[in-house]
């Protein structure tokens, strides 16, 4: 059954009966406690990525690897990142694979990728809350492309750590949308730091946003934060 499913995957495309792939779904569940079988299944899926199969077939493989992939899948998935057609499929899987190699592959891809694809990978690093990506993301806050700078700010706001807050504090992007994203991310970091009990760090961020130079809604949010730090 599983062999037939992999055979079907080679010609699988939009409009094909999805049930032909069910044995693969069932194998993912069945191999949960069997590392060797799981590894064999992962290898077979990765091999499909390197074949000349349809977009729908690669979509299925990436979604499956998203739930069961390991470091073994990373090279093949990372290979998709520069492709305009498959970059997002690859990063969605890498975003959810717990192995550090997945984050590292995405970080390393940042220098190579064109900006539109880079924005996606930046978002995935933020969604992954990847602390080790903070320096790389911090550097991108000053990117000339507002989309990249904005994505970096949002990713740091997703990471919500003291280091992320530090990187954001130093940032002064030119583009208004990037500046707003930085402010939003700083508030997100402060909220997380306060929730984690780091009142001093949270207060420092909030203080910096209560000035008259800030928009009214930012002042309001920051003042609320200051009050929360004071016990309110």
């Amino acid at each position: 059954m599983l062999d037939q499913a992999f055979e079907a995957l080679k010609t699988y495309d939009w409009g094909t009966d999805r049930n032909v792939l069910n044995p693969i779904d069932e194998a993912v569940i069945a191999t949960r406690e069997d590392a060797a079988a799981r590894r064999e299944l992962e290898d077979r899926l990765v091999a499909v990525l390197e074949d000349d199969v349809s977009h729908s077939a690669k979509d299925f493989v990436c979604r499956t690897l998203m739930s069961m992939g390991t470091a073994a899948s990373v090279p093949a998935l990372a290979g998709l990142l520069p492709s305009a057609e498959y970059s997002h499929l690859g990063r969605y899987a890498l975003e959810r694979i717990p192995a550090e190699e997945a984050a590292q592959a995405m970080r390393e891809s940042l220098e190579e990728l064109p900006n539109p694809l880079k924005v996606g990978v930046i978002s995935s690093l933020g969604a992954r809350r990847d602390e080790r990506s903070v320096p790389a993301l911090g550097a991108l806050l000053g990117d000339a492309d507002p989309a990249v700078a904005t994505a970096a700010a949002r990713a740091l706001g997703g990471i919500r750590s003291a280091a992320a807050a530090q990187a954001l504090t130093a940032a002064e992007p030119d583009a208004p949308e990037a500046r707003l994203a930085v402010t939003d991310a700083r508030l997100a970091c402060a909220e997380a730091l306060l929730a984690a009990g780091d009142r001093t760090a949270a207060l420092a961020i909030y203080r910096g946003l209560t000035g008259e130079d800030q928009p009214a809604h930012v002042r309001l949010a920051a003042t609320r934060g200051v009050l929360a730090c004071a016990g309110g």
Partner: protein
């Protein structure tokens, strides 16, 4: 407190909470001339340092030029920095803020509910703009105590409706076990209107301890007092107070006052949960009453209903002296249980006005909702219609058919659509039934045909508008 004091206080906090916020607030206060009490009060140093800092910040926000910032301060006052020390610091700002700020702070302190704010609130009751005074009066509800009852009662006769409403609301909310006693004391000097309002307040407070006063008022000479007293008793009294309420009923003037008193007693009896026992306490009073009073009380016995009441009324029906009163009691019956007896009376050789009264009662009870099926209810109404000899009762039966929401009721009404003397009433019933979309949609073709006939028949503009709306599957909004 001088500006310099404010600045010193603010300066102590600035390094901790940020320059921008405090500079903004300081600028506002310097520009507006409103001073801030921002220093710690002696003897209050026990307050936690964190709370002290928070309170200081909230005090500054109270004076912020930005309305949203002030709203943030109010939100904090409502929910944060607990304790009377913080409350007093907030409250001391009341006489330093502009009127809008005073109203906002009063509302926040009201919601905070800490009575430590009361002295500052009292200070605003009789001076300043009207809206501030009203807010202060409203704040006294949760923040005041028994000693505030006289001043709030005095405000019940204030010229301003807003002030009267605020005083009434506060008297309802005022806490303390002896508030009812204080309210009752105030009745000694209140006029009839004031007393009626106090009775309303006692009802809203569910002040059962005021029942003796209300029972006393229910038998006084002044009808303007008896009626609200009985209405208050309707809400507060239990079966044990039925004898006292009966005295109130006997004191009521025949006519609308007595009928209202009967309904009050019937409502109290209806709250008795034991099946069939609703009339028991009332019948116990009736049995001990003199002949004249028993005749008067038969009417309320009828309003209460039930098997034991029916037995008493049947007995009275057989006696010449009480026959007419007993018949009225049957006509007041709250349920269709009495229908067979009413049919007997309609078909008897009683004087026509008594048979008509029985028939009208039958038409009234026939559609009342109970364990009977819709078909059974309509069958009884149809029978009553057949017994009617006058147009008035036939029209009444057509009107009552509205209460049975079935397609059979529609067909019942349609039979009278072509008779000039009943057609408008039949049209009214058709549109009223059509008003219920579930019924109308379930029998769409039949209702469409009926509504088209209504359009051809009715001369009433409202009925025509309703029929048109329902034919177009639109909703007709009943006027207020």
């Amino acid at each position: 407190m001088s500006h310099s004091c404010f600045e010193q206080s603010a300066a102590r906090i600035v390094p901790t909470v940020g320059v921008g916020l405090f500079m903004g607030a300081a600028f506002f206060f310097a520009a507006s001339g409103y001073a801030l009490e921002n220093g710690g009060e002696s003897g209050e140093t026990a307050a936690a340092a964190e709370d002290g800092e928070l309170v200081s910040m909230i005090l500054l926000l109270l004076g912020d030029a930005d309305r949203q910032m002030r709203a943030l301060a109010y939100e904090q006052i409502r929910n944060q920095a607990p304790g009377p020390a913080a409350t007093r610091r907030f409250a001391t700002q009341l006489d330093k803020l502009p009127p809008e700020g005073q109203v906002g702070l009063l509302a926040a302190l009201t919601d905070r509910g800490d009575t430590a704010a009361r002295p500052a609130v009292i200070g605003l009751l009789e001076e300043g703009p009207a809206d501030v005074q009203v807010a202060a009066v409203r704040a006294l509800g949760p923040l005041g105590d028994t000693s505030d009852v006289p001043r709030l009662v005095a405000l019940l006769s204030h010229d301003s409706q807003a002030m009267r409403s605020a005083a009434q609301a506060s008297l309802v909310r005022l806490g303390g076990s002896d508030v009812t006693v204080a309210l009752v004391r105030q009745t000694a000097s209140a006029d009839a209107q004031g007393l009626a309002t106090i009775f309303d307040i006692l009802v809203e407070r569910r002040a059962r301890e005021a029942i003796p006063l209300l029972l006393f008022a229910a038998i006084c000479d002044d009808p303007a007092l008896r009626r609200p007293a009985m209405q208050a008793l309707e809400e507060l009294a239990g079966p044990g107070e039925i004898p006292g309420m009966v005295r109130g009923l006997l004191a009521a003037e025949p006519g609308s006052e007595r009928e209202a008193a009967e309904r009050c007693i019937a409502a109290v009896c209806a709250r008795i949960e034991e099946a069939g026992a609703q009339a028991v306490p009332l019948l116990a009073v009736v049995e001990k009453a003199g002949a004249a009073d028993r005749t008067v009380l038969l009417s309320v016995v009828g309003r209460v209903g039930g098997p034991r009441a029916l037995k008493a009324v049947e007995a009275a029906l057989g006696e010449e002296a009480t026959h007419a009163a007993a018949l009225r009691a049957l006509c007041n019956w709250p349920s269709a249980d009495v229908a067979p007896r009413l049919i007997e009376l309609v078909e008897s050789d009683l004087p026509s006005e008594q048979r008509i009264a029985a028939l009208r009662a039958l038409i009234r009870v026939a559609p009342l909702p109970d364990q009977r099926s819709d078909d059974a209810r309509l069958a009884l109404l149809t029978r009553a219609m057949a017994m009617a000899a006058r147009d008035e009762e036939r029209r009444l039966a057509l009107d009552r058919a509205k209460a049975i929401r079935t397609v059979e009721s529609l067909r019942f009404a349609l039979d009278y659509l072509d008779h000039d003397q009943y057609s408008e009433h039949a049209c009214q019933t058709v549109v009223e039934l059509a008003h219920h979309r579930g019924l109308r949609d379930a029998h769409e073709a039949e209702f469409h045909a009926a509504l088209n006939r209504v359009l051809e028949t009715s001369e009433d503009a409202t009925v025509q508008a309703r029929a048109t709306a329902y034919l177009n599957n639109e909703t007709w909004v009943r006027p207020e």
